[in-house]
């Protein structure tokens, strides 16, 4: 049960809660596609604190709250106001407690959302803490896969790109390890998955590490591509060669199974060529759109709408 609970990490969401999120997200998707609006959170206020810009995530949360009839107050440039005055996050959150029913926070420092949840009597939803957790992204990724295949068990899911720093990948791998899936990790050697992520997976997790993108793209049900950030490389020539061999173009995407899907947390830079957008496997825009019903589901479960 997520009622009145903070969601800081995907570990805060139980297996039953994940299934419930899937179910409620389906209902919310239906509501959206029928052009209907719900009023279940009409008396509720969501406060968003974004200490770093992420228009897409913020709009997705705000849209979700509005579609449920709730109100939104937001400090979009939180960094320029309270932080500039030297106020601690703890104090900001203690104050926010009084004027909202749920707090959504994005902050550049890891552990910030956990800290916020300790100083707030209202539930806190983590919308990304530095290189830490981003549980709503994980939920929408899971939901996208579930919606496409009707299940997660038995699927082969390949993850490609920056598996070292990418927070979405770490929490997605942890969440996937709760299901009976085959996880395949493909990355350049300097961007391999860190040991601290691997060591937290249950022993029964079926996981392989590969560097053969051509072979893996042919036999995967889900091909999840992540952004490779230039800043991670000291040698820009190395960056260019990595980008060259890890980007997906029409030729590579054409090797995918007919019913396989290609995902990306967006925004993309050069990882997926624009020509791929029109291929039947491209699912990243749909994936991003799924963020709204999933966040609606989460907010309604936390705030306990009827």
């Amino acid at each position: 049960m997520l009622k009145n609970k903070s969601v800081v990490s995907i570990d805060d969401v139980s297996d039953e809660d994940i299934l419930e999120v899937f179910k409620v997200s389906d209902q919310m998707s239906k509501l959206i596609s029928e052009g209907k609006k719900s009023e279940i959170l009409s008396s509720r206020i969501m406060a968003t604190f974004f200490y770093e810009p992420s228009t897409r995530t913020r709009l997705s949360f705000e849209s979700a709250m509005h579609r449920l009839g709730g109100s939104v107050i937001s400090v979009s440039e939180a960094s320029s106001s309270s932080v500039a005055k030297g106020e601690t996050l703890a104090d900001t959150i203690r104050m926010a407690d009084a004027y909202s029913d749920v707090i959504v926070i994005r902050h550049p420092l890891e552990g910030s959302a956990r800290l916020a949840s300790k100083f707030s009597s209202k539930p806190v939803v983590n919308a990304g803490d530095g290189a830490g957790q981003h549980p709503t992204q994980t939920l929408l990724d899971l939901y996208t896969i579930k919606k496409e295949f009707g299940k997660l068990d038995g699927l082969k899911i390949s993850m490609v790109g920056d598996l070292k720093y990418g927070r979405t990948v770490h929490s997605l791998i942890r969440a996937l390890s709760r299901f009976d899936v085959e996880i395949n990790l493909i990355s350049p050697s300097i961007l391999r998955i860190p040991q601290h992520v691997m060591s937290r997976l249950p022993a029964r997790t079926k996981i392989t590490i590969s560097d053969n993108i051509e072979e893996d793209i042919e036999n995967s049900d889900v091909f999840y591509v992540t952004r490779i950030q230039k800043e991670r490389f000291t040698d820009q020539n190395e960056y260019r060669s990595v980008i060259g061999s890890y980007s997906i173009d029409g030729g590579l995407a054409g090797k995918m199974k007919k019913n396989a899907i290609l995902m990306h947390p967006l925004p993309r830079i050069d990882e997926i060529a624009p020509e791929v957008d029109y291929m039947p496997q491209a699912r990243y825009f749909k994936e991003a759109a799924n963020g709204i019903p999933v966040r609606m589901a989460l907010l309604s479960m936390i705030l306990g709408g009827e």
Binding site: A90, G111, R114, L115, G132
Partner: protein
């Protein structure tokens, strides 16, 4: 052959910290704030041959008995350390240090980007994941720290 037992003198009342990893005695003294505490005389054995570990360090402190928090700190540097409480030249009590399940405010998170390294009104908080080898996880940023990283942050 030198009699190994003569290397460190016996104490009348106080604490013996034995089985400290070789070379870590000074770090332990640092934690106990020995240089400030003039009421205790201290003898230190560094690189003492030991059957169990090859070499070890030993510390004997007169007239000082350790607090729980000090024992917890020692357990992070010397997870195998044994503590003997000496009264009138005889060992009254002997036990091993034990790494607690929760470490509150004992060490700083090795993750420079962790919120607990800022000026927030919170103590660092770690959960013990494994005792041998030592591994603890930050309850805020969820990063794990190994023995080496723990040493560097103390």
């Amino acid at each position: 052959m030198v009699d190994k037992t003569l290397k460190i003198s016996k104490i009348k009342d106080g604490t013996v910290i034995d089985h400290i990893p070789a070379g870590k005695a000074l770090k332990v003294l640092n934690i106990l704030n020995i240089s400030e505490d003039v009421s205790s005389s201290v003898s230190i054995g560094i690189h003492v041959p030991s059957g169990k570990f090859g070499y070890k360090d030993v510390i004997k402190i007169e007239n000082r008995f350790l607090e729980k928090i000090e024992l917890d700190m020692i357990s992070l540097i010397a997870p195998e350390a044994s503590i003997s409480i000496v009264t009138d030249y005889s060992i009254k009590e002997k036990f091993n240090v034990e790494l607690p399940q929760t470490l509150l405010g004992l060490i700083n998170c090795a993750n420079q980007n962790c919120i607990t390294n800022g000026n927030e009104p919170v103590k660092s908080e770690f959960e013990t994941i494994s005792r041998n080898p030592i591994s603890v996880r930050c309850r805020y940023c969820e990063r794990e720290m190994n023995y080496k990283e723990i040493q560097a942050s103390m």
